[in-house]
């Protein structure tokens, strides 16, 4: 069984390589797992629980069964990565093309129809550069719709295909392709991609996490009006080598309720096209200031902040323990399944300060963010 164990606070965090699954265990549970790994049979393990750990026979059986199930799950053969054939897509597809420029690199991005371009391009259109004959392209990305499936090709290789239901995974892989090509990296160079928003100031970053509609985008957009620089919204990559947050140059989606406030601060926001997420939700993209967003940034994480905005609720900041933070972060994030990266991820999660922030007052958010940036941990 391929695994890693790390003690964080009073718990044992066990990572299982084959299933890329994390288990948070009481230390006694890990002792039983260790005995199982040594080769004890089921009945020997039950005896171990009863005589060494003083459990009742019923509880001993439950624990041993769970250990056994973990072992079996981790021994299941996981389907290998599917290799796609170029022939799946017809050669004669026509494309709408753009050049997206960032970090001194130019990428050629193609969409196979207008509707597809309309769904992805608005988030990146500020990266568009007029075609220049002297431009050397660092990569080619094609997004195609064919027979009800969406395909993503990077430098002529199909790297995935998805149904409409999984369109958010296509968007994730599209974002990864941009991130890798702009930074000369591959997936293995990233520790995680968090469903979060991040801002920075003086080489320190605050990362805001939370479920959809918890206020992370709004918070970071507000902070960007108050001396912070937006690093990434919705898609926050953490680099493995430096364990730093990387910038990602997608536009920020702003909800209708904040249009007035943003129009007051960003005159160009008025001109941003009104888009609809569903029948009731309208939004517009706020495009980063082009003079500030030309180069990739890698910034140390000062704190992870799990945020919850409420209309009239209390304003409070609570320090939370690392295990609670892991429980909130893991299910909502992509974490590299590479063993070396998991070691780094767990080391990072053991150290990084984590908070829960409830706020209804924007001034409180700004003051507390300043305070977190200046705190000596």
């Amino acid at each position: 069984m391929q695994f890693l164990v790390k003690k964080i606070e009073s718990k044992e965090v066990l990572w299982l390589q084959k299933t890329n699954r994390y288990l948070i265990l009481e230390p006694f549970f890990m002792r039983v797992m260790n005995e199982m790994i040594k080769g004890l049979t089921k009945s020997e393990l039950i005896d171990f629980c009863i005589y060494k750990l003083s459990f009742s026979a019923k509880k001993a059986k439950l624990i041993v069964d769970a250990c056994w199930n973990i072992k079996q799950d981790n021994e299941l053969e996981i389907s290998k990565q599917v290799i796609f054939s170029e022939e799946e897509l017809p050669a004669e597809l026509e494309y709408i093309s753009y050049t997206y420029s960032y970090n001194s690199k130019h990428l050629n991005v193609h969409y196979s129809n207008v509707a597809l371009a309309e769904r992805i391009h608005p988030k990146f259109k500020h990266l568009c550069k007029d075609f220049d004959l002297l431009s050397v392209f660092s990569g080619l990305i094609c997004v195609s719709e064919f027979r009800g499936l969406f395909y993503l090709q990077v430098n002529h290789c199909i790297i995935g295909k998805w149904l409409e239901y999984d369109f958010h995974f296509l968007l994730g892989k599209f974002a990864m392709a941009l991130l890798n090509l702009y930074n000369n990296k591959s997936d293995i160079d990233w520790l995680a991609v968090l469903h979060a928003s991040a801002v920075c100031k003086d080489d320190n970053a605050l990362v805001f996490l939370g479920k959809s509609a918890s206020g992370k985008t709004t918070s970071t957009a507000l902070l960007s009006l108050n001396g912070f620089t937006l690093l990434a919204d919705d898609f926050v990559p953490i680099e493995s080598k430096s364990i730093k947050v990387a910038s990602f140059p997608a536009a920020v989606s702003v909800k209708e309720s904040l249009f007035y406030e943003f129009e007051a601060h960003f005159p160009e926001f008025k001109k941003s096209r009104l888009l609809t997420k569903d029948k009731r939700t309208k939004f517009k993209y706020l495009y980063p200031n082009s003079t500030k967003t030309q180069e990739s940034k890698f910034v140390k994480t000062k704190a992870l902040v799990f945020i919850k905005y409420t209309n009239n609720g209390d304003n409070k900041l609570l320090k939370i323990n690392q295990i609670t933070a892991l429980q909130k972060l893991i299910p909502d994030s992509w974490i590299s399944p590479v063993k070396e990266n998991v070691v780094l991820f767990l080391d990072w999660m053991e150290e990084v300060p984590c908070y829960e922030l409830h706020y209804s007052d924007n001034k409180y958010l700004i003051n507390i963010s300043e305070k977190l940036m200046n705190d000596e941990h």
């Binding site: 699954r21 439950l62 958010h168 995974f169 968007l171 898609f235 992509w334």
Partner: protein, 58 residues
């Protein structure tokens, strides 16, 4: 989409049926109830938010 495409796709997305999911959960339900054990699954792939298909309206 033909059936071979569908089967390749199911390999790609690694989905499991509702019944299999319930079976998986219930396998650990008793021991998680003891409060000694917690399973966390990260996202299987990178994801990003975006607008739905045009004309979908939901």
């Amino acid at each position: 989409m033909n059936s071979s495409e569908q089967s390749k796709l199911s390999l790609n997305s690694k989905r499991i049926s509702r019944r299999a999911a319930l079976k998986k959960v219930s396998k650990y339900a008793a021991v998680t109830a003891l409060g000694t054990f917690l399973i966390l699954n990260p996202q299987k792939a990178q994801a990003a938010s975006g607008p739905p298909a045009p004309g979908g309206g939901f």
